[in-house]
Amino acid sequence: MDILVCFKVVPDLDQLAGSDWFIDSLLRVETGYAKTILNAYDESALEMALRFSESAGQSVNLTALTIGDEKADIYLKTLYALQFAKAVRIENSVEARFSPEAVASVICRYVELYGKQDLLIMGRQSGVGDNAKTPLLAAEMLKWPCITQVTRVEPGEASRLKVTAMVDGGLVQQTVRTPCVLAVGNVPNAYLRVPTLKEKYACGKKEIEVMDLEQFGLQGIFNCFDTGCELQGLALIDRNREGVIVQGATPAEKARALYDAYLKEWLEQL
């Protein structure tokens, strides 16, 4: 069984203080000084794929794919150490934050040209665009069924999968035929495992496959794709309130000060 997991490396925006945010006249935002992280949902998607391959009882071929610049390479290396058979980066340094249509097109072209994938696993949403569209669009383009908010996937009989997903008001368990697209939602206890030193060493020389958009006949796609949706403005959301700091020498004293000056009255108003 061939599984493709698509992930994105994103800046950890929680590291930027209010004064660090700078939006220039072309609506670009400098995030270069924040450290990078795996997009949270993609981290769960990658771990889910690893767990699936362990429980599958058949041979599973895992490929990890990202579209982006070389900042992703250390993550791709880690994925090799974690037994991904292939770690691919499609080089792109053009702004793609609000182009989920273009990202989905590239992913689909990869599946068509190099694919024979049975399963495409993605995160449900990624920074910095927070589009929450790419897996849905990829499913539409491939004409594959799609399940969103997935929390668990297990092997089923005869090219089928048992998939658990959140829906409004509950959880659904169902059997689906492959090929299909799964968009991973909030999954507790699904942080990506860390490779051992030995695992890292064993794959140290394995090269990341770097491809470029020309190989797909999609050069320039991120410059010219018309999504029908144009960014016209960006503004920092101001959320500050008074931020009065309660004084006191000990925690108990501070608690009493809080209670007497504010909390008691606020509770009475409830």
Partner: protein, 321 residues
């Protein structure tokens, strides 16, 4: 501009979907006018209630076996072949955010998920949504019709009164229709309810600063004693220290309490979106530089445990009086 709302009457949250759509449209007086609603439903016994709560007075009831996105999309695309609306509005739940994007693709239109405001300016259709993990508000011009939008959870004041002037109802029975190959052995389990974080008047929220599953469990007790509903930040929920339905923030509940006490939470924007509509916010944090300290009305800079212990004592003392 004519707008069609698409709602899922198969799920238990129908009233809030309908109320959200009405609240959203009411908040955009210069925006589109509500034209028609399309309501998927499966249970005849709920039908009259769905009709009574429809966001518009003209509506189409579509009977399906159950909500299954692949089938619903085919049905919707067929029904709207001769599209009369320029705008399709979907609720902010899982149903809406999936359908908006996939339906737009099939109709050759454009979509945006989690829109919190829209404007029609000189015939230009402008949408706003939070981006950059909720730190920034983005403004987008949509060009390709039909525009298919899902509403940002919690961004509309829910208007949930019933409607007396239902004028036009049409019905379509698609209960026999099913897409092959997906959704076999479909089993639905109703979620444990979070005690209604969204409705709670008083919430206590625990962040990573509470440090362990045991301590999070202890905070659940404290919440019980002080009469608050317990919420948690993402790291707490993702480490399974509490069940997932306690999650507060863009990925969980958008709360609107009168009072919120947040202990050991740094105040990342994706979290803060879940408490920003609180009337009062109290932060308890060891770090004066944590963003939540500035975003709170009042803050205590200290270890949350002894602070909460003392508050509990004071509350119990005053309750006894």
């Amino acid at each position: 501009m004519k707008c069609t709302a698409v709602l899922n009457g198969c799920s238990g949250d129908f009233h809030s979907q309908a109320g959200e759509v009405r609240g959203f449209l009411d908040a955009c007086p210069e925006g589109p006018t509500a034209g028609n609603s399309i309501i998927f439903y499966s249970n005849d016994s709920r039908k009259q209630d769905l009709i009574a709560h429809s966001p518009t007075s003209s509506l189409k009831m579509v009977k399906v076996k159950r909500h299954y996105p692949e089938s619903a999309l085919e049905i919707l695309t067929t029904l709207e072949r001769d599209r009369v609306a320029d705008l399709y509005l979907f609720p902010g739940n899982f149903f809406g955010s999936e359908m908006a994007v996939r339906f737009a693709y099939r109709m050759g239109g454009s979509s945006l998920v989690a829109v919190n405001k829209l404007e029609l300016v000189e015939n230009q259709f402008i949408c706003y949504k939070a981006v950059y993990a909720n730190y920034l508000q983005g403004k987008f011009l949509l060009r390709k019709k039909p525009f298919c939008l899902s509403i940002a959870k919690g961004s509309a004041a829910v208007q949930s009164s019933t409607r007396k002037n239902i004028q036009e109802i049409s019905e379509v029975d698609m209960a026999g229709f099913a897409k092959e190959g997906c959704g076999e052995d479909y089993q639905f389990t109703e979620a444990e309810t979070g005690g209604g974080l969204e409705q709670a008047q008083f919430i206590l929220v625990a962040g990573r600063g509470v440090k362990s599953k045991e301590k999070a469990g202890r905070l659940k007790e404290v919440a019980g004693v002080i009469g608050a509903e317990l919420g948690v930040s993402r790291p707490v929920a993702m480490s399974a220290w509490t069940p997932l339905h306690r999650l507060v923030g863009v990925s969980g509940a958008i709360t609107k309490p009168r009072l919120c006490i947040a202990a050991g939470v740094s105040g990342a924007a994706a979290f803060f979106a879940g408490i920003e509509q609180s009337e009062r916010i109290i932060a308890i944090n060891t770090d004066e530089g944590a963003p939540l300290v500035q975003a709170a009305d009042v803050a205590v800079i200290d270890d949350y445990e002894p602070v909460l212990d003392e508050l509990v004592k004071l509350l119990i003392r005053d309750k006894k009086r």
